[in-house]
Structure formats: structure tokens, C-alpha cells
Amino acid sequence: MAEPLVVFDNVVKRFGTFEAVKRMNFEIREGEFLAFMGPSGCGKTTTLRMLAGLEQPTEGDIRLAGKSLLDVKPHERDTPMVWQSLALFPFLNARENVEFGLKMRGMDKPARRRKALDWLERLGIGEFAERDVNSLSGGQRQRVALARALVTEPKILLLDEPLSALDAHLVIRMQGVLTKLQRELGITFVYVTHSQSEAFAMADRVVIMSKGEIAQIGSARDIYRTPASRFVAEFVGRNNIFAGTVNAAGNVETPAGTFTLDGKARPGDKVSFVVAADVVSLSVTKPAAPNVFTAQLISEEFVGSMVTLFFEAPGDTEVKVQVQERSLEGIPREPGQTLFLSFDPSHAHILKG
């Protein structure tokens, strides 16, 4: 087990009376791609800024490679950041922007020039080296910002919603660029985003934050399949949440129906459980399966070849079903249509709290 690169030890950050970060404890492993995700105001950016030294923790300690960062000024930390606004220096051209960090380290002119050009080349924008940064496209500026942060070969790179200003198709391409770079360089990426698709697509581990606290840390798969709380389940979306009381037989009685969870619930408990939208089956006739219930189709939504159907089950329970378009052949899809829905007990995940 490698020594963690970064340790947050009981870190609290207050702005006046507002507690932006509430007693955080976590570790960042060397070489991992860690994403912080949460709604705006959840403290994810504050966490990143504390790592860069732009905010000081009110309590607790942050250690980088075993050394406390509390008395280290931002310019003495080697924690380069890619900013949401990019924050390129508008009075410098692309190459000069990339050279900035090397210049601050006292590298001589020819050496830093060569290195900056190498990095611009590596990111596929070598031909724009002498261009004014304001004349570059969003994607090109993004690459300049990346090159500027990586040129000093840091151990860790911080990224604050770097793709939020880009068009959807560029986001996908930049995601590819980022994951490839991270793998090739083997350095730690700490990525802050409100976008689930970005976090899930790139990160080894995702930290879900809510109101200044860590709601869950885990792989994208863990968080999607086994959310730790109702908040995580709702935030991640694509989940159906059922709530009810466990009867004497160990089945959960909910307004939508009575479901068996393979004995995962104790009689008498009030429980909530989630069933992911892509594990719910649909049929016109009642199937011979456990956990069947009926629901009325409300609307549908297409994303590529996938379609999400929105149902209403008894007791105002909203149910989402995500399937391949092709698998819907022979199933009538007029709004108001009542269909049979079912899921396997092994796919139900009980929420704590």
C-alpha cells in the first residue's frame, strides 16, 4: 500500500458563520484520478482551493507527501491548477503562457522555450504557439491551459470544472485527452465538476459532496449501484427510490406494491431502497417473475439509441426505466398506457438513513 499523496485531516473551513467544509477526512492516492462532484455550493471548489493554498483551512491539517501545507504559500506549493475560466494571461501568446511557470522557476530562456513548444506539440496545438490566446478557439485555449499547468511536471494536477465552458462534442474529446494524459504521465489528477458524466467517465474514484460533507467515496460503479444515502441516489439520478415498511414475511410494503428483497430487510423496519433505471424490465402481460408492479406511462426521452420512459406507479411513485430502443418492439408506448414492470431482488439496494 503506497503512502497517500494527500491527506485531509479533520479539515474545516468557515467563511464567517457559514461552514463551507465540515470536518473532512480523506486521502488521495498517488497516481489516481479523483473527481469531486456535487451540486453548486457543496464545498468541492473550496476543497480544491485549500489544496492549492488559495484558502486556508479554519481547522485541521492538509498534508502533501507527508508534509503539512499549512504554512506553505500558494506560490511555494507545486500544485498547478486548470481554472474554470482558464485564467490565461491575455497579454502573452500561447507559448509565453506555457513558459510562465518555468520562468518563475528560473529556467533559462532557450530551455523553457523548447519545453513549452514540446508541450504545445504534445497537446496538438504546436502550430498556434505564437498566436494571441484571445484568437484561439475554446478547445485550443483549454489545451494551452493544460500545457501551462503540466509543463513544470508536477506530482499532482488540480482541475476546477475545466470543461464546463466547452461544447458537448468538445467535452467528450477533452475527456479523452485528459484520461490519456493522466495514464501516460502517471500523475495524480484532482478534478472538480458538477457533471456526473465527466466524473464517471474519467475518475478512478469519485467523491460525492453535499453541504460541505462527503456523502460517499467510491468508484463510479459503486456509487451508481450502491448509493450510500438517499441524497447520493437522487443526485446520481437514473435511480428509482421506493420507501416502505417491512412486513412479517420480510417483504417491503410500498404504495407501488409489495416487494421481496431476498431477506435483506428486517421485519418492522422502515426502509428505502433503490433500483437502477436500467435493470427494470417491461412487459405487456404479467410476467412470471418476482417484484412485478403496474405503472402508467407518462412520457419518454431519447438519448441516442437509449430511451428513458417515465412512469407513474400507485402512490405517486415516479419510476424511470432506461432501455435500448430496439428492445421496445411490440410494446405500445402511448402516454397513459399501463404496463407491467419488474426487477430482480438482487438489483435492489437498501439505503442507509
Binding site: A52, G53, L54, K73, P74, H75, E76, T79, P80, M81, W83, Q84, S85, L86, A87, L88, F89, P90, F91, L92, F100, G101, M104, R105, N134, R148, A149, T152
Partner: protein, 266 residues
Amino acid sequence: MKDDKLLRWVLALYTALVFLFVFAPIAASLVFSFNSDRFPTIPLGSFTTDWYVKAFSNPEVWDAALRSLIVSSVTAVIATAIGFSAAYSDYRYDFVGKKAFLVLALLPPTIPLIILALAMLGWLSMFNASGLTLSIIIAHTVLCAPFAMAVIRLRLNQMDPNLEPAAWNLGASEWVTMKSVVIPFTLPSIIASLCLTAAVSFDEFAVAWFVSGLNKTVPVVILEILTGNIDPQVNAIGTAVFLVSITLVVIAQVLVLRSAKKPEAA
């Protein structure tokens, strides 16, 4: 559509009238500065450059011009330095009484010049500092610093608040960041401020007249020539002064507008 066209014509005409109203006296002064007649009447006499020759062979005018040049350039540098510091404090820091600080910092140009001039004279004589070239510089700096601050503040407000942190993040200390990020970013407004404050100081009469004593600046000399008699020399000097000021102001305007057009670091 038709109304639109009419409105455009009316607005164009109105703008032309405003410009005519503002520039006609200056244009007249320019025309009469080349007129051979002693009195500014129409029809004009013949073309002459005599008044320029006469004005510029007057040692008092040269003396005043040199003093005006020194006063305006020193004033421009000091006022811009003060204005930059005030604008940067406003941009970078939040502190108790910031509003009051801003109001006070921007106050001097709203005080009637005569009051400001009298107050300056009274205050400077308490330190036996009236009647010197230095007195004019001090008084003009007070008058000009708010203009400098306003111009530089405009530019600083366009600066991405993450630009400085980005420089720190890449290893630049706060002083190095000031030198290699804040000053290059605000450079157009610093030059604009230098031009603008130099122009204001170069033209300013009331304060200069009160505190200058025997150390006259160009506007003071003009008034002294005028009080004696009607002398077309004044037109010649006035035209020269106007050209200097308008050049400085145009440079300032171009720099401010050009840097405002580019949405930087978005």
C-alpha cells in the same frame, strides 16, 4: 422603417450641432491665429505666422511652457501612481469603510475649482510651500489622482479575478505577480491615465493661478497677456496648447476604448 431614418437624421444633425457648439470657438481661435489683422473680425486679413513667431520669441512664454511641461509630466507620474494604488486596493481588498474610502478618493474633481484652489493656497502657505513649482505639482496631483484611479479601475474590473491566483499557483510571489501580471494587464490604462492627467494638468488654470505665485504656467501667462490688451498671440498659444492636450486625450481615449473592446480572459 421611415421613422427610423428620420430619427437617424435628426440625431446626426443634433450631434453635429453639439460638436459645432463645442469646437467653433477653438476653430475660430485657430483661424484668427493665422490672421494678420489685430482684431478678430470678418472679413479676414491676409495669412500670417507672425503671431506664432511673436509668441514663441517671448521668453516668458517659453519659461511658462517649460514649467507647464515639468508640472504636467511630474503630476501625471505621481497621480497615476496614487491612482493605481487606490484602484488596486479597491479591486483586491475588502475592508471596513471601503465605500467611504472610494467616495473620498473620487471627491476632488467635484469640488469647485476656486474653492479647491483657495484651500490649497491656504494649506500650502501654512508650510511656506506656496508660490513654488512644487506647489502647482502638489495641487494638480490632488486634482488628477481621481481621474487616474477611475481610468485604471475600469481596466482592473475587466481582469479575471483568477488571473492573480493563477500566477501564484504557477510559482509567482505576490510582488512578482504585480510586476508580471497586474501591470502588464493594466498597462493600456496606465498609459491612458498618464496622458489624461498630463492633459488636465497642462490645461488647468484656476488652481495654478492661485498657488503658482511668480512661477506661471501657460494658461496663467495667457490670462496675463489677455488682461492687458487684445493680442492675437493668445490665439497662437491657445492653438498650440489645444493641440498638445487633444493629442494626449486622444491617445488616452484610444487606449481605453481598445482595451475595453477585447473581452479578456473570458
